[in-house]
Structure formats: C-alpha cells, structure tokens
C-alpha cells in the first residue's frame, strides 16, 4: 500500500464511523420522547383504571407528581382505553373558575385542550372516540335534537385526560382540588362495539 491508499482507507473508516454516528443520533432523537412519554403514561396508568378519575397530589417541594408542576393548580387524571368503548367526561363549570382539560395520547401527543370557557350552559360534555366509534354514534344522531356532546377523535386508543383547576388564592386550594376531582369520567358503551 502506498500513502494515498492508506489515506483512502483511513478516510473510508472515518466516514463509516460518522455514518453510524449519524444514524444512531437520528434514531435516538426520534425514539427518546416516545420512551419518556410511555414511561410517564405507565406511571399514570398505575394511579387509576381507564374510565376512572384519580387526583394527583398538590405539588410540594420534594413530592411533585410532575416536573414544573404549578403549585397553584390542582390536577386529576383520567386514563382511557378506547378498545373498551368511548370515554365520556362531564363537568359542571362554575362561572369565573378556571378549569382546563387536556387530552393526551400514551405517546405524548396533546390532541385537544379546552377550558371552562368552552362550556355550554355551564356544562362540559366531551366524548372521546375512535373514528369507527364516531360513525356508530353519528348513525344514531337525531337531526331535530342535536347532541350537546363535543366529540373528539383520538389519534391513538390509549391515553389520558389531565383535569386542572386553578386556586387563585392559597386559601382556595381545597376548593380547587374538589373541582378537579368532581369531573365525571366514565366508559361510554356503544351499541355494536
């Protein structure tokens, strides 16, 4: 081997190291958020069964349910599994009291979020469905008497809803906790599913 050949060999090996590094980097960047989200989802799933609501503890130093949790906000979670039917959420909203719902898939996507300002006549009624469940529900619709439900299509079968209530003053923490827990969360059995 002369010098040029040797240089070429070194170059070739360097390029192959860089190619492997590049592939590893891209794969790690793409998969990392999913693993974090799935781990979080498995923790949340331990707190409640699908279609049941469970309160998260108020954030305090040393015992936070989630990083960067706002200590002024009370939260509850409601996991869902659409293979067992749709998820129905119902909340009675008090005027002026901040209540928010955010809808997450198990791999971390927030597919919808809303606040009490989206309530109709003081009530929030949401049904989370798969596309085929939505067809079933729509087939039953009565045109003269439209359903008040907000229908959401979930991009995945499994996920969870985070319900948050703000306590504008520290003395209202108990009340905020009560509001975050008083959202009704249940499995909606559908005909034919």
């Amino acid at each position: 081997m002369n010098r040029v050949d040797r240089l070429l060999v070194v170059l070739l090996w360097t390029v192959s190291v860089l190619v492997v590094a590049g592939i590893t980097h891209i794969a790690a960047i793409l998969f990392y958020p999913k693993t974090v989200s799935l781990e979080r989802f498995s923790q949340i799933s331990k707190l409640a069964e699908p279609g049941q609501i469970a309160p998260l503890p108020f954030a305090e130093p040393g015992e936070q349910p989630l990083p960067f949790a706002d200590p002024a906000v009370a939260q509850s979670i409601c996991p869902f599994d659409l293979s067992r039917g749709g998820l129905r959420l119902h909340a009675d909203v008090e005027a002026g009291r901040l209540l928010t719902l955010s809808f997450h898939t198990s791999d971390g996507e927030i597919f919808y979020s809303m606040s009490d300002r989206g309530a109709q006549q003081g009530k929030i009624d949401v049904v989370v469905l798969t596309p085929s469940q939505l067809e079933l529900v729509q087939a039953d619709d009565d045109e003269d008497n439209p359903s008040p439900d907000l229908r959401l299509i979930a991009p995945a079968n499994a996920g969870f809803v985070i319900i948050s209530a703000l306590a504008p003053h520290p003395s209202e923490k108990g009340e905020a906790r009560y509001r975050a827990q008083s959202v009704a969360c249940s499995i909606e059995r559908l005909a034919g599913s």
Binding site: I29, G62, Q64, P67, F68, D70, S113
Partner: protein, 204 residues
C-alpha cells in the same frame, strides 16, 4: 490446522475493525444526542428578553424532533399543559444567570391572560423549598400599585409586598405561566415589550 488459523486472521482483523467502527459510531452518535438534548433549546423556542418559551402545539406531531426531544428530556413540556403557555427565565434581563445571593425585581407589563402565575423552580423543575412554604404567586393575589402595575421581589431575606423567598439552593429558575390567554394561538407574536423585566438588585 495452522494454515486455517493463518487464513482466518485477516478476516478477524477486518471484523474487529468493523466492530470498532460500529461501536465508535454509536458512542459518538449518543454523545452528540445527549449534548444536544441537554443543552439545546430546539428550533421552535421563542425568546423574549430573559424569557424562553415554546409555541402551544409543542407536543403535537408537527413540531420538529429536536424540540420534542429537548422538551421531553427537561420535563418542560409540562409548561404548556392544561391550557397554559409557560416561559422560563434562567437569568435577569441583562442576560446574567440568577445568583441566589442577589435580590431580583420583576416588573413591567404582562400579556393579557385570565390568570398568570410566577413560580420558583430548580433548573430540573423541582419546587424550591423555603421557610415561607410558598413557591409561587398568582395574578389574583398580587398587591398592585394604583395604576395596576406590580413588582415581585425574589430574595433570601424577607421583603414587604409581593415577595418570594429564594431558599437555600445553588441555582434557581423562574417560570411565568399564562392561563387561558391569546398566546395559545400558533402564530401569536410575543412582544418583548409586553413581557416583564427582571432586574438585579443588591447582592450579599
């Protein structure tokens, strides 16, 4: 037998080189990923003075993979949950990092929102433990001047007015969160003039 071993040696050498190149590549790739994810802000970050935030749809599928990975790593995805839009600041308006020995004043305008909260955290997102047992203030409980303006003081020693105690830790950050605000719309322009300034006072 001996001749077989002699013939296999070059193969083994090539195989070893492949394994070495593969291992080096994987180590290099993971190191780069770790550095980027730990230090970076992502392409979607919005900066306004000392504040950094992310657009509302950060967890949606259309965000770039770098921002997603960075938010997942830092736990800061939580800043934008529950209809909130969060911004964090690691330092004052001049750009120098927070020093727990100093006193800081936060004042100025805030974007329109139904509620907003200001909270002290460790850089990892843990709540700061302090003697007062309070880590945050909400827009409703602030004492305000007659013109509606406000000043929040961060310091170790007690102060009159809107005061948050820094506590006994080496580093801290602050998070400003807006609930039910127009900032949620994807294209909302965040104007530096409408975010509060963070001004350093005396240090001891």
């Amino acid at each position: 037998m001996k001749s077989l071993i002699v013939r296999l040696v070059p193969f083994a050498a090539v195989l070893a080189k492949f394994a070495l190149a593969g291992t080096l590549g994987i180590v290099l790739g993971l190191t780069i990923t770790f550095a980027v994810v730990s230090r970076g802000q992502g392409f979607a970050a919005i900066r306004a003075g000392p504040w950094t935030g992310w657009p509302r749809n950060e967890a949606a599928a259309d965000i770039d993979p770098y921002t997603r990975a960075i938010l997942a790593r830092s736990g800061r995805a939580a800043l934008n949950e529950s209809e909130a839009v969060g911004f964090f600041a690691k330092g004052d308006s001049t750009g120098s990092e927070f020093d727990p020995a100093c006193e800081y004043t936060i004042k100025g305008e805030v974007p329109a929102a139904r509620y907003w909260t200001l909270t002290l955290f460790t850089p990892e997102g843990g709540l700061v433990s302090n003697q007062t047992g309070r880590q945050g203030l909400t827009s409703n409980e602030l004492l305000r001047a007659s013109d509606g303006g406000f000043e929040i003081i961060l310091s170790r020693k007690a102060r009159a007015g809107n005061w948050l105690q820094i506590g006994d830790l080496p580093r801290f950050i602050i998070v400003l969160r807006f609930y039910d605000s127009e900032l949620g719309s994807p294209a909302a322009a965040i104007d530096t003039a409408h975010m509060p300034a963070v001004i350093r006072g005396d240090c001891r």
